[in-house]
Symmetry: C2
Subunit: 204 residues, 2 copies
């Protein structure tokens, strides 16, 4: 696990008007509780601020957007916005390839170790509600908005994409199934991108 959010902890201190580092901790604790209880969509910065006894502007000051606050709560080792903006910008006929290329570039980077540690701890902990909320409401929702049509909301399609990406992470980084664990990224991209493209746009 990464250490962000663990700095400035003062166990003996509490109250409605906490100091600077106490406020940061109070916001994180309130956000963790709200996100776990209500999920990403139904949690507002305003409600988190009220629970923490601070002004909403202070939440934005410390953590930025609601998505970045969520990233701090689940202790994401990387800013998901970097990957998601690549997905937003991709042409639709290369959306599958863009997704696997962007995701592999994070997992195969030094920051990938943090992702693996996070996934392990989520699964081991037993409470997968935050992970589910993050995958469904932040990551897959961004992809879904790009493919939804009046006839098909795209929910099953993006869930299928998510399942193949989770399986790739497990095979490459956690269980270590050869030759996927050590294959060059380009080999996996050419094998898996057509799967994702079919899940997103093909006959399913």
């Amino acid at each position: 696990m990464t250490a962000n959010g663990a700095t400035g902890d003062r166990p003996g201190r509490s109250g409605r008007r906490p100091g600077q580092s106490g406020a940061r901790e109070a916001i994180l604790a309130a956000a963790r509780a709200r996100f776990a209880e209500a999920g990403f969509d139904k949690t507002s910065i305003r409600a988190v601020a009220a629970d923490a006894g601070v002004d909403p502007a202070l939440v934005h000051h410390y953590f930025g957007t609601k998505q970045q606050l969520f990233g701090a709560v689940v202790q994401l080792p990387v800013d998901p916005e970097l990957t998601l903006s690549a997905v937003d910008a991709a042409p639709l006929d290369r959306l599958g390839e863009t997704i696997i290329r962007a995701v592999l570039s994070v997992w195969d980077s030094p920051a990938g170790d943090g992702v693996v540690a996070m996934v392990r701890s989520i699964i081991a902990g037993g409470d997968t509600s935050l992970a589910r909320s993050f995958i469904l409401e932040v990551v897959l929702e961004r992809v879904r908005q790009r493919i939804a049509t009046p006839e098909d909301d795209g929910r099953l399609r993006v869930a299928l994409v998510g399942s193949q990406m989770i399986g790739l992470l497990m095979a490459r980084k956690i269980v270590g199934i050869e030759p996927m664990a050590s294959a060059p990224a380009e080999e996996l991209i050419s094998a898996i991108a057509p799967t994702l493209q079919r899940y997103l746009f093909g006959e399913i």
Copy 2:
């Protein structure tokens, strides 16, 4: 976790000629150590029997084949042979569909809870060597033998199949990504079987 292998444990008892229940435990302990150290392929019933101080015939008597002994060591809640024999019998043009159909029928059965518990505990425990050995050398190897050609040993192909099946297990049973978590099995089979078939026989 299931309780097989945990019966008849007598902590105070040991020795080169253990009694009936002690022998069973000694065989399991020896097999666990050998499989973890050397993997499935390089472990022999003879070596396990020697380590446990019993006759190889007694190992077969208690546990059956080496694969069944392995199943007892990793506390598999189901006999993998039931699924694997379906894979052996499938026509090649329906191999992908057969795999996902057989696997889903186990996961969606009452025994599936045991599979989920096993996967969780393997990931949480950190030591994935037994899981890797089981997936690679028992399950995927049986599929690989059906698709290997002189030009392509099929290792990457079956690993890709494994990654999609692990991802399906995670999405449906562990993280709970809707609508995959509650979709009818037939809907998932029709969406995913073509992926597996392409991984096994198509352009990758």
